[in-house]
């Protein structure tokens, strides 16, 4: 039976495990650690134990995993049929992983009936060894259930070792549907993907506990190993100079795999309103984020003004949304919108962990806060300690006077 094991010969009863546990899942009695019913097997105690006395025992199914091969990358297309940037980011990362596994990278490209062939060529140019595609009206608009059925059919037949998905709204819906049908593991929102040299397993690292801790997750006994990755996380891995490919060269690399004729979509999109604020914050190149430190709602207009002067979108922390100063789509952080702007100006934000987790993708962070001890300064590239309102007032004046008047 699986469970937490304490090696009695090693345990010294130091209780470091007790302090490390966030769940009350372990206690020390008579100088010996014992797991309690509250244990959720998170492994925090294992890392805290100085004498390696704790382990998690699992029932390992002896399955033959050697038949699984190749890394698949899901390539999502937008309404116009173009492949989303996150797919190229994942392809780049997949190439590095494939080099270690000595295997191929395969792109999955479900599209509508009128494909131009351009997405396939682009995927191959950017690192895919093969493209599995389907041209089907049931894929317009993209339907998670149809996609999942298609991918599962292919996976059962071709047995990929790894499948990666962009953590777009669609990817976050599709990947679990595939995972449950294939009865395999899925790790959400990975920030790092590596191959373990010794075991060959995919190491999937994601923030846990609001980014305070990073957790590395493996899926040792089931295949494929699956992960989703937020757009922008592997922006640096995307192929910078795609090779030019001729039509002939790509011909053998594109395989059209039909969708089960009996599959019928159960979800119908009747109308779509274009994306609002939420999307614009997530994709903003420049972002001003304000927190409780701006003191009062009456300073919001000033913040809107600095955002305008910087040609930036305005975001805020959770307390401001809860206080009703701004609407939820403005909320930046793990429970709001994760952002990855070129420039993020953080004003009066102390930097709760969830918030920091949500802005870690920003390229340059300028933090303005009165409290020199604020955690935001731990992540900021430029630290401005001082009265936020006064500094912003001065900054607005400088920016507005510098801007050419039209």
């Amino acid at each position: 039976m699986a469970g937490l094991r304490v090696d009695e010969t090693r345990c010294i009863g130091c209780a470091r495990c007790v302090r490390a546990c966030a769940h009350g899942g372990i206690k020390v009695e008579h100088r010996l650690a014992h797991p309690t019913d509250a244990c959720v097997f998170c492994g925090a105690c294992i890392d805290a134990c100085p004498v390696d006395a704790i382990s998690i025992e699992r029932d390992e199914a002896a399955a033959d995993l050697s038949v699984y091969r190749d890394i698949w990358v899901f390539a999502q297309v937008d309404k116009g049929g173009a492949v989303l940037p996150v797919a190229f980011e994942l392809l780049g990362r997949a190439r590095a992983l494939a080099a270690q596994r000595a295997c191929a990278v395969v792109a999955l490209l479900p599209q509508g009936p009128n494909g131009t062939g351009a997405p396939e060529r682009e995927l191959i140019a950017c690192g895919a060894d093969r493209v599995l595609t389907v041209h089907d009206a049931r894929m317009v608009p993209l339907d998670a259930e149809m996609c999942a059925g298609w991918i599962c059919g292919l996976a059962q037949q071709l047995k990929p070792e790894i499948i990666l998905y962009g953590a777009t709204a669609f990817g976050r819906e599709l990947a679990p549907m595939v995972a449950v049908r294939l009865e395999t593991g899925l790790t959400a929102d990975c920030t790092r993907l590596e191959i373990d040299e010794a075991t060959g397993l995919l190491q999937q690292t994601r923030p846990a506990f609001g980014g305070n801790l990073m957790a590395t997750i493996e899926c040792p006994a089931r295949r494929p190993q699956m992960a989703t990755v937020r757009p922008g996380v592997f922006a640096g891995d995307a192929c910078a100079c795609p090779v030019t490919v001729s039509d002939d060269a790509v011909k053998d690399k594109i395989v059209t795999c039909p969708l089960d004729a009996s599959a019928r979509p159960r979800v119908r999109v009747l109308a779509t309103e274009p994306a609002q604020q939420g999307a614009s914050i997530a994709q903003a190149k420049r972002l001003v984020v304000v927190g409780r430190g701006i003191g009062s709602k009456k300073h919001l207009p000033l913040m809107q003004r600095i955002a305008r002067a910087l040609d930036a979108e305005l975001g805020c922390t959770r307390p401001l949304v809860e206080a009703g100063w701004l609407e939820y789509p403005h909320q930046v952080g793990q429970t709001g919108v994760s952002v990855a702007p070129e420039l993020l100006v953080s004003i009066g934000v102390s930097g709760a962990i969830q918030h920091l987790a949500g802005i870690s993708g920003a390229k340059t962070i300028i933090a303005i806060n009165e409290d020199a001890q604020a955690p935001i300064f731990g992540i900021a590239h430029y630290q401005v300690v001082g009265d936020a309102i006064e500094i912003v007032n001065n900054l607005v004046r400088e920016l507005e006077s510098a801007a050419p008047r039209l």
Binding site: K297, A323, G324, W325
Partner: protein
């Protein structure tokens, strides 16, 4: 004395300039004027400032957090003594019965004290051993709270004592007065009176007090009888009273409170907030009376009338800041809100059963109620309650833009229990007759509603003021109080005269002059300056007469 004088050089009395503009008004939105201002941080500094102003008899207005609604902190010339930097918690103690007391400077903000108590953590610099031991004991004791809860948590404790603040929970916990166990009062001369509850009592209506400087004050207390209801109108007086009670609620007219000792109480184990909606105001009043007689754990009984609910309904849809407000049921006219503080969940459930039954009996429905038992729900209800006055302020501000003469007109009167229906009837008929728009909410458990006239023009504003004066007469006739919690300050002096008569005002003014012979402190609060000056002249000429007679 030498020790004190060393501080004199460090306290700066500075000319009041435009950068001090904020210190010329308070939440009452009336403005005053002054020539100088100071921000002392210790009692010694307060004393040296008062001494330096005493010779020229400079008028002094004491300020705390300026959250008052009766203009008590709005200066009338002279000096502004702002105590907001006297914001340290000085220590604490635990008595033999295990009760905790915390010693604070007057500028400590209520919300800060609450935060400290909740975290059981204080800045302990300068604390004595007794205090540190008490703090240690606090760590293991049940959570302690300071129960007085005026809606405005940014009020400071000195200000709350000066006006005897109360708020919703005064229904069970009473007003500020009973939670102050000791205080230090700096007199206009710079001398100090240290008062402890139970320590200095009046004989009948005569009070004899000795200052730390050895001066004796002989005080003839006024002869009036206070109303048998919630009351913050004028000095607290009764036969054999405790001297400390005279200072609490004295609106900054007797001296400067430089230190307070506050009695804490254990936090209730279970707090549930229940909002009960009714389709008719009459039913809500019946329910209130039933709650008073049948509920054992009600800490607050509050009311929102139909107009207040309508304002909230409008805010929900119009303002994003209020969009998360809980939505009152569609066809209800008013709401009675009860806070239950119980020792256990079982007790709370039993109380809730009684509440459900009495609501039904009064014509409401146990379905049309909100029971907030979780932190999240209670926050939602607090937001709901606070949104009412906030929304009304926003509405008034909007109307001011078209006519600056319009300001908020909120009543603060209370009557004895048996007059609840009668006083509501008075409000409703007179408002309707005058054709005014109004919204009423507040502490119905104490028959103490804030009826707010929402004037649409300067004429309506005047009509509203006139209405309030009429109510002051009627409420006095019912045995009520013209100001139940905001204090009289400078805005309700006329009402005080209506309530107690001219003779009583003169008696009160004599009490003031016993503490503050030059009439320097809180000028314009409680009684007009003319009355004070007239009394001083009369006394002076009486002295002259005596001197002449003595010489003859």
């Amino acid at each position: 004395m030498a020790a004190i004088d060393e501080h004199a050089g460090t306290v700066r009395i500075v000319p009041l300039t435009h950068e001090h503009d904020d210190y010329l008004h308070d939440e009452s939105r009336s403005r005053g004027e002054a020539e100088s201002i100071s921000f002392p941080t210790t009692e010694d500094e307060v004393r040296s400032i008062l001494r330096s102003l005493h010779a020229a008899a400079t008028p002094i207005t004491v300020q705390g957090a300026r959250t008052g609604l009766a203009a008590g902190a709005v200066p009338h010339g002279g000096h502004v003594l702002n105590l907001s930097r006297m914001n340290r918690v000085l220590g604490m103690r635990r008595d033999d019965a295990g009760a905790f007391f915390v010693r604070v400077q007057p500028g400590v903000i209520l919300s800060e004290l609450r935060k400290n108590l909740h975290a059981r953590s204080f800045g302990t610099e300068g604390w004595d051993d007794v205090s540190l031991q008490a703090l240690h004991a606090l760590a293991d004791a049940p959570e302690q709270i300071f129960p007085t809860d005026p809606t405005e948590a940014s009020a400071c404790l000195g200000g709350m004592a000066a006006c005897n603040a109360s708020g919703a929970r005064s229904y069970t916990h009473g007003a500020m007065r009973q939670h102050v166990s000791a205080l230090r009062l700096v007199l206009a001369s710079g001398d100090v009176l240290a008062l402890h509850r139970g320590g200095e009592r009046a004989h009948g209506r005569h009070l004899s007090l000795t200052t730390e400087g050895g001066q004796t004050l002989e005080i003839e207390l006024p002869t009036y009888v206070m109303p048998a209801c919630k009351n913050a109108s004028g000095y607290f007086v009764e036969d054999g009273m405790d001297a400390i009670d005279l200072v609490i609620g004295s609106d900054g007219t007797l001296g400067v409170i430089s230190e307070l000792e506050l009695a804490l109480v254990p936090a209730p184990a279970v707090t549930w907030d229940v909002s009960c909606f009714f389709t008719a105001e009459h039913d809500a009043l019946d329910a209130t009376e039933a709650m008073r007689s049948e509920l054992g754990c009600a800490a607050a009984i509050e009311y929102f009338d139909g107009a207040a609910l309508d304002i909230l309904r409008r805010q929900r849809t119009e303002s994003t800041a209020f969009s998360s407000l809980a939505e009152p049921p569609a066809d209800v006219a008013c709401c009675v809100y009860v806070e239950l503080q119980c020792a256990s969940e079982d007790e709370a459930l039993a109380e809730l059963t009684r509440l459900g039954a009495l609501v039904e009996r009064a014509g409401g429905s146990a379905e049309h109620t909100w029971v907030a038992r979780t932190e999240l729900d209670r926050e939602a209800l607090t937001f709901f309650r606070h949104a009412v006055p906030e929304s009304v302020n926003m509405l008034i501000d909007e109307r001011r833009r078209t006519d600056p003469a319009i300001t908020k007109l909120g009543s603060d009167m209370a009557v004895p229990n048996e007059r609840l229906h009668e006083v509501m009837d008075l409000y409703r008929t007179t408002i309707a007759k005058a054709g005014l728009e109004a919204a009423a909410w507040g502490h119905i458990g104490n028959n103490h509603l804030h009826v707010n006239i929402l004037p649409r023009s300067a004429a309506e504003y005047a009509a509203g003021k006139e209405l309030f004066a009429r109510w002051a007469h009627a409420v006095t006739a019912m045995g009520g109080a013209v100001s139940a919690e905001h204090g009289v300050g400078k805005l309700k002096r006329d009402f005080l005269e209506i309530m107690y008569g001219r003779q009583a005002l003169a008696e009160m003014a004599r009490v003031k002059l016993a503490f503050d012979p030059c009439g320097q402190l809180g000028r314009g609060n409680l009684f007009g300056e003319e009355l004070l000056d007239a009394l001083r002249q009369a006394e002076a000429s009486a002295l002259d007469d005596n001197a002449e007679k003595g010489g003859a």
